[in-house]
Assembly symmetry: C2
Homo-oligomer: 552 residues x 2
């Protein structure tokens, strides 16, 4: 048995049954070994960023890692952005990077480069180059253990070609399942005491605290003690919709997040970090926790969030409390000229049961949360690391993880162009994904950011051209058809609803190009930065009313 065959068996024995790949010559023995292991499914991507983003989406939905297969340092570079998103989302990935044979390295051939230095960016906790065929499977088990520990991480195993082709590979048994501890008694008691003290308190839920059991425990605490429930700004996987507890997501815009947190005296973190501004802005604070607010940690990302919330609920006598659950509510069917808001409304109107919703719509998705709040129960996956190009690959992985569930990916035009090759894999694997592209021909968020950072009162033509995608306008229908994906274009709410109904009623993949005006177009875009600057200085009720106007 060669190294690659032993590795394949070791992976499968540990429950790793999908490999998202884009191989080259140095990975050919791994490729040949695929057929030696019936449990392993190989999914080809036309670009490594698709493979890594798919591994991220798959793990978000299954809770266990997939493998990637990447070609040397350059392949890892191509896949880095979506591994970054996985890292920030605490998502387990077993990242396998092929390398030259060990004896070939000193010759500095064309593809030779320092792979480990790249890997450290996304795998600070586990980078290992396997040195011999005999030790390969032990290295793989260590990588699997690192990846699926709590918090989940991207573990990078570098696999030299001769270690892969060498004989004498010996499969290793899987590592023990992680057993994260819950919050200790002292922390639970201290936080219970803070909550009982009566100061205005909020739980900030992130990571694994956004799954049903944890949400229910949090909602019982809220019902019993009147605490507020926040959700981190970019959740890895949020279970939501009718019948589940509703949580308020912290806003992307720091100005709005500040408003949300105003008056909070105790902020309890549950698998979440204290909220900070996404970017820095001249003269503005990065920290968003209000002055005087005390921050408590109930569960770190290395602890069991659900069990910790159960313990807190018990300490507060909330175990039998009745949690408030989101009632069923859908927006009406939109009509007239299409806009980003109407797309979100249509999605809320039509969202099927048990959907997986992937939101990389950036500015165009502002209303998505509101419009789908009372829709049937669904999972929401978001842009955890801020590196665009996550949505389409995540959809590939989620659809492979959950073949019986519809996947709906909402993606901005700028983001979609980063990893559009994912459409080909959707077609090849016949995935039930409906992709909605918001085509507003703009890096719309950057038009806001250009003003928010105070870069220039009146940006010049060269600056403006860097944010504009009008010349030429992208035709996403042709792009999808070029990769074998059925596509339709909509510029009215009626045609959009019809296209979405068709897509949901027929096996995918489908793409709907929603032609919309810039989501923050015209006057609103010019007014928004001023408004955001003014908000914190306004009386709170006025500011809150305005906030609802901006991002209800």
């Amino acid at each position: 048995m060669n190294g690659a065959q032993a590795l394949m068996k070791t992976l499968a024995d540990a429950g790793i049954e999908v490999c998202f790949s884009n191989p080259g010559t140095s990975e050919m023995h791994f490729v040949a070994a695929l057929d030696s292991e019936p449990r392993m499914r190989a999914v080809l991507a036309l670009f490594e960023g698709v493979a890594t983003g798919a591994a991220d989406g798959y793990a978000r939905m299954t809770g266990k890692p997939a493998a990637t297969l990447l070609h040397l340092g350059c392949g890892l570079g191509n896949g880095l952005a979506n591994l970054h998103n996985a890292r920030k989302g605490k998502v387990p990935v077993v990242n396998i990077v092929g390398d030259h044979a060990t004896h070939h390295v000193p010759f500095d051939a064309q593809l030779q480069s320092d792979i480990e230095t790249v890997a450290r960016n996304v795998s600070p906790g586990f980078v290992r180059t396997s040195k011999t065929t005999a030790t390969l499977c032990g290295d793989a088990v260590a990588a699997i253990q690192a990846a699926r520990g709590l918090p989940g991480q991207v573990a990078t195993l570098i696999l030299p070609a001769d270690v892969s082709w060498g004989e004498g590979g010996t499969p290793c048994p899987p590592p023990p399942a992680p057993a994260p501890p819950p919050a200790d008694d002292a922390s639970v008691a201290a936080i219970a005491s803070a909550i009982r003290s009566g100061g205005k308190t909020a739980l900030l839920l992130g990571g694994n605290a956004l799954r049903e059991p944890a949400l229910l425990a949090a909602a019982r605490i809220a019902a019993q003690c009147g605490v507020k429930l926040f959700c981190e700004v970019f959740p890895t996987r949020l279970e939501r919709g009718a019948g589940l507890p509703a949580v308020e997501r912290i806003a992307y815009l720091a100005e709005l997040a500040t408003l949300q947190l105003t008056g909070i005296e105790h902020l309890v973190l549950v698998d979440a970090k204290p909220p900070v501004s996404f970017f820095a802005y001249p003269g503005k604070a990065s920290e968003l926790v209000p002055d005087g607010c005390r921050v408590h940690v109930l569960a770190t990302p290395a602890q069991d969030a659900g069990a910790s919330l159960d313990r807190l609920a018990a300490a507060l006598g909330a175990t039998q409390a009745t949690p408030a659950l989101q009632p069923v509510a859908r927006p009406t069917r939109p009509r007239g000229r299409l806009s980003a808001a109407k797309v979100c409304k249509a999605v809320g109107h039509l969202l099927p049961e048990r959907a997986i919703v992937i939101d990389e719509a950036i500015t165009s998705g502002l209303l998505l949360g509101t419009m789908t709040a009372g829709a049937p129960r669904h999972d929401l996956l978001t842009l955890t690391g801020g590196a665009i190009g996550q949505g389409l690959p995540n959809a590939v992985g989620a659809a492979i993880a959950c073949p019986d569930r519809p996947v709906i990916a909402l993606v901005g035009d700028g983001s979609a162009m980063y990893t559009l090759q994912a459409l080909w894999t959707m077609a090849r694997e016949r995935l039930d994904v409906t992709t909605i592209i918001f085509n507003n021909a703009s890096y719309s968020v950057l038009n806001v950011e250009l003003e928010r950072v105070g870069a220039d009162a009146a940006p010049g033509p060269k600056a403006r051209s860097q944010l504009d995608l009008h010349d030429p306008v992208l035709d996403f229908c042709r792009l999808a058809q070029g990769m074998g994906v059925h596509a339709a274009r909509a510029d009215t709410a009626e045609s959009f609803c019809k296209a979405l109904e068709y897509a949901l009623a027929h096996p995918g993949p489908h793409l709907i190009e929603a032609v919309v005006p810039e989501s923050l177009g015209g006057a609103k875009r010019r007014v928004l930065p001023w408004l955001l600057r003014s908000l914190p200085n306004l009386p709170l009720p006025v500011a809150r009313a305005l906030k609802r106007k901006i991002a209800p």
Copy 2:
């Protein structure tokens, strides 16, 4: 004057007049400063790999660096593969990577990551994070000096947002022009003596030794002394065609390269490395220099290759020798069903004057060199670092560098899908590029490599599926049209010639999808690995005859 404005002036003063960009919020002050510097042209890419590959192509054709503008560690990751190609090609690039404001870094916001560790992969010689606005321009000058020294390199300057937006920026004067030394007297004398000794000698030319003056000096030496002229396997920029000295490129396949080098007793390196196998194969040597062959270094990449060859020519009394020049010769117009060979033949038949030819056709381009050898003088740019996805971005950069010259990019289907977004920039900038895609629906080279590495005598269905792009077949015409590029499909030699004539006669960009059978299809692909294994054991004349059959 803020940091970004001072940086912009410093870049322009140093002759850096193009910035290939894909910015985000942390780069907004740099974007705003574009309009403060009339000499700076900003070219937007929809993906960072396009921006970095364009900077590579631009520098290959102008001999001076462009700037990139990338968004944090993830943007750098996306651009890494083409920076790798630039590094391996010794191409100067001033790589500017935006970062969070220095005071924002400790908060570990979503996009925070260790940028420097990624940058070290492609910029081992120069990575610097600028710490203050006051020192920014000095850092930039150091980066420019590092980039455009000999050998050229990718210098990475990390630009925190507050260093960019801070007031007190002071432009710095440009660094001195590099003045690389030629070979010293002792080396020249020793090599002249080796050549005079009568042993079979070859010059292996690489890097800057592949430009006209150096080629002429080498050809005079060849005419006077009977030495052979080789060219490195993947030249950064090779001037060739009718009227220029012809050089024999070292083959990609180690088996063929071994044959080319058989019998050489003295190998003289001129801005080139000793030839090594591209990949390692079980039981095969990585080094290709024959046993007993002495290797001499006339010029390292840090020396002036042309001046060194002039000195060697003088030492050999060859200064007045008449160099052999490639005569004018074009293949006839191809006819019948299209094949990769006929595409190459058509390009040779129709190649216009002063074209820039970019070859990332992988297996489909096997005959390109032969078919264009006697075509009008042109430049050839190749895949220096082996990281696919270079061809289309290189074409963008070359066309911006040389707006009065036609650019023809020949790209395999698998490679094209890595950085297809380059087509949009071609359309936006109205670049005179004709892209030829070889659509054989396969990672054809990997079918060969799978057998060459001896991975499996009979690859299984999962292994084969990893190399196959048939399901679904890509439609490159739709993909091009989706990005605003005129496109035509050809499956006969006649329709291909017509499409190419049209493209060359009308301002670009254009794309021609050449539907071809797998270049090494059927019986030939199965026979090739056996043949390659057998070649070194055959009598040399037989092997050479076979070699001409395989790759004439």
